[in-house]
Amino acid sequence: MSKSRIFITVVFIALLATPIAYKRVVAHRQALLIANHQAAALSTYGFVLRECANASGIDFEHQAPKLDSKLDPIMQQIASMGAAVSVVDFDRDGWADFYVTSSGEHARNALYRNMHDGTFRDVAEEVGLADINSPETGVSMGAVWGDYDNDGYDDVLIYKWGKPELYHNDGGKHFSRVTDAAALPAWVNANTAIWFDYDHDGKLDLFLGGYYPEDVDLWHLKTTKIMPESFEYAQNGGRKYLFHNLGNGRFEEVSEKLGIDSRRWALAAVAADFRDTGYPDLFIANDYGVSELYLNENGKHFRAAGKESGVGYAPKSGMTASVGDVLNQGRYGIFVSNISEEGVLVQGNNLWMPQPAASANRIQFENVANAMGVELGGWAFGAQFGDLNNDGFLDLYQVNGNVSLDPDRSYWYDYSKVAGGNRAIIADAANWPPLKGRSLSGFQQKRVWINDGAGQFKEVAQLVGVTDRFDGRSVALADFSNTGALDVVVANQKGPVLLYKNRVDPRNKWIEFNLIGRASNRSAIGADVRVFWNGQQQRQEVSGGSGFCAQNQRRLHFGLGRTSRIDRVEIRWPSGCRQTITSPELDRIHSIEEPQ
């Protein structure tokens, strides 16, 4: 054999050996890390999470619906959503409560009131928010809170595969159903809704995104041709609704009039002012297709800008939409979770970061998920940004796992067989092979990515105590103990609600802002806050819903690292009013009312 051929043979062997060696090194390092650092997570990463739902009085278990028997062979795959969590201080006692949904036809939803001592009590029955699910009106998929009538108490929209329901909060003591007066549609198979004041008239408007088409009653199917027409290019999903708040509890549907006309399969939406125009733009993460970005043109119109901005080009399976100023540059990135299954479908998550040259007319995003290390998250669902260790940079908590049944048998082969088929095949549920107790990306390890502030995230879930393997759907962050630590609530499909209490290194400082609108909507949703300290800034916006079927606490939480002071805080209220606060006190919650 010639020397040249020997050389090429050696290169060939090296090429084959490199990935094996790389994987071994990575696995070895990870094992060492777990062995060495699990006990020292607090000192190493600045926080440690401990699951304590049962000890806190939370014993909620999600139930899935039983849909039309024509779907029996793939029932677990179809009925794989509906576990949702949203945080609210419904009684205005200054302590965050939370609402969780179930999706069994007669299952009860729960509203956990914070008892101020680390425990919670379900008061849904007492206040009238438990009995929501029924075969006639459909079952819950999620809930979002916002004070639509500006009376000071957060009201709730419960969206369903069925009739969306609006409940008015009567002084934190009871909820009254006001759906009919609000003129909400009779049936929407919705998987996302958010409150936002798109036209800055001081009243919260509502976006509602359909998944299955609204003429599909999943309990009484006329046809089995209800599935997406393509795995990544489907446009036969549910329509989108934009309800303009007219006041007096009435809403007008204006989506088409304002330029939102889509039938993609929406799973998540988030509103934020990506271009610094003062008006919230709307981002929608769609399953079976590309994401959509609607740019808000002064509250008068929305312009579809998915392709021109770069987010609407490569189709994936968008499941969550979360916004965060990842690099402390005063610009929002958008995290969209997708599917990654070894060897079968590696879509990878997207972390869309805006390019520096953004302007009111033009914004472009680049997907940096790979470069920043948040790309592979399994069959990912909900995710939220939040500074879990108060080091001054936003971290990312992501849940995952689709259908966990028999751990030893996978449905992926049959799933991929049909998913790659032509429209005529994939769109008919009758063509989908039966699940027969097999798992589809089940029992997955969650992801907790901590942000080093220099463009890299590090996955530390196992190291900081997140070890559950439930089918996670919805995740929300809130400081339930008012101590400056963001706790985590997770709603699992056909599984328990988990509460991860966060213990944070006390040397890291924090500050929280509870904003109350006056000229703006009372919930202050859309208020934009920039905190300046140590030559850097972090920007956050009060949100009316983010992640997957979730809502974080509305109060804004900023971790600050080991600083001794903040230079200033700039608030831009939705009304346009600007406010600056100089050197606010650290390690405390500030309640700030919009200036007159």
Partner: protein
């Protein structure tokens, strides 16, 4: 994949062709690369089928650079790059990964394998088939293969079927594709008795773009198929049989593995038989002399 035009024998004397006829002639080694590029461009501009142009460009560049380097190193001549281009572009289309490095690594493995895994002067595996199979076995957490449709209408599929059929017909390998497709459809029907699934569910994969590239550009690779026409049809049928067995074992990557098992075996048998014949002929000659 290699260019199907690689094996086209030197043409017999025939009247000169007009430029278009020359372009679509089987002698045009640029025809397959041009058509596969067209498919890629149409697919990506219409449906964004690629992870990104840059990843595909990386796969192509890696493939071509290594082809040049190895040919210069071994044969001291500059290679015709059509084959390497097709290998690169095929990797760029068929591999799905959000990262860049799998595209380079896969192309590198593909080209290198051509020069290393050889027997009696021929490489046994279709380079891109070997490399994709290797990637799926070695780094499944970073790599998948194209499994979804290009768009949700029938048109992209029809365009690719027509373009593909033209190419393989022009390079006289349509019988391989046809045999495989017929076998796949028959075996899809057979599988329904084992799985209990509908015929449409079983036949669904072949309607996807991955199969379209597989049957037109990978299965027909002249460098790694046997010589006689009947043998090519037999091997295509055997690939379909192997695939059916793998599918019954619920293997997601059945077509790649089936080809990577059957293809080299068939080729090895042919090389062995040819060698035997040659040896017998040589041993007969002195005797008859």
């Amino acid at each position: 994949m290699s260019s199907p035009a690689d094996t086209v024998a030197a043409p017999l004397k025939r009247p000169p062709l007009n430029p278009f006829a020359r372009f679509i002639s089987g002698d045009n080694r640029y025809l397959p690369p041009i058509l596969i590029t067209l498919i890629l461009l149409v697919g990506n501009l219409s449906f964004g089928l690629l992870e990104s142009f840059s990843r595909t460009a990386l796969a192509i560049a890696t493939s071509m650079v290594l082809e040049i380097a190895f040919t210069l190193l071994l044969y001291r001549k500059f290679p015709h790059l059509a084959s390497a281009y097709i290998t690169g572009i095929s990797v760029g289309i068929l591999i799905r990964s959000p990262a860049f490095w799998p595209y380079a690594l896969c192309s590198a493995i593909a080209i290198t394998s051509k020069y290393v895994i050889r027997w009696r002067g021929r490489h046994l595996w279709n380079p891109s088939n070997f490399a994709i199979s290797a990637m799926l076995l070695l780094v499944p957490e970073y790599v998948a293969t194209l499994m979804i449709q290009w768009g949700n209408t029938i048109w992209p599929m029809l365009i690719i079927w027509v373009l593909g059929a033209i190419i393989v017909y022009r390079v006289k390998r349509f019988h391989i594709t046809a045999t495989y497709v017929v076998c796949f459809v028959i075996f899809s029907f057979v599988r329904t008795f084992f799985t209990g699934h509908s015929f449409l569910a079983e036949v669904a994969p072949i309607t996807g773009p991955m199969y379209q590239l597989f049957i037109f550009f990978m299965l027909t690779d002249p460098k790694t198929t046997v010589s006689p026409r009947w043998g090519q049809c037999l091997v295509a049928a055997l690939v379909a049989v192997a695939e059916m067995i793998l599918r019954l074992a619920e293997n997601v990557h059945a077509p790649y593995y089936a080809l990577s098992i059957v293809g080299p075996l068939a080729l090895a048998v042919e090389i062995y038989v040819k060698g035997k014949r040659k040896t017998s002929l040589q041993s007969l000659r002195p005797a008859s002399a």
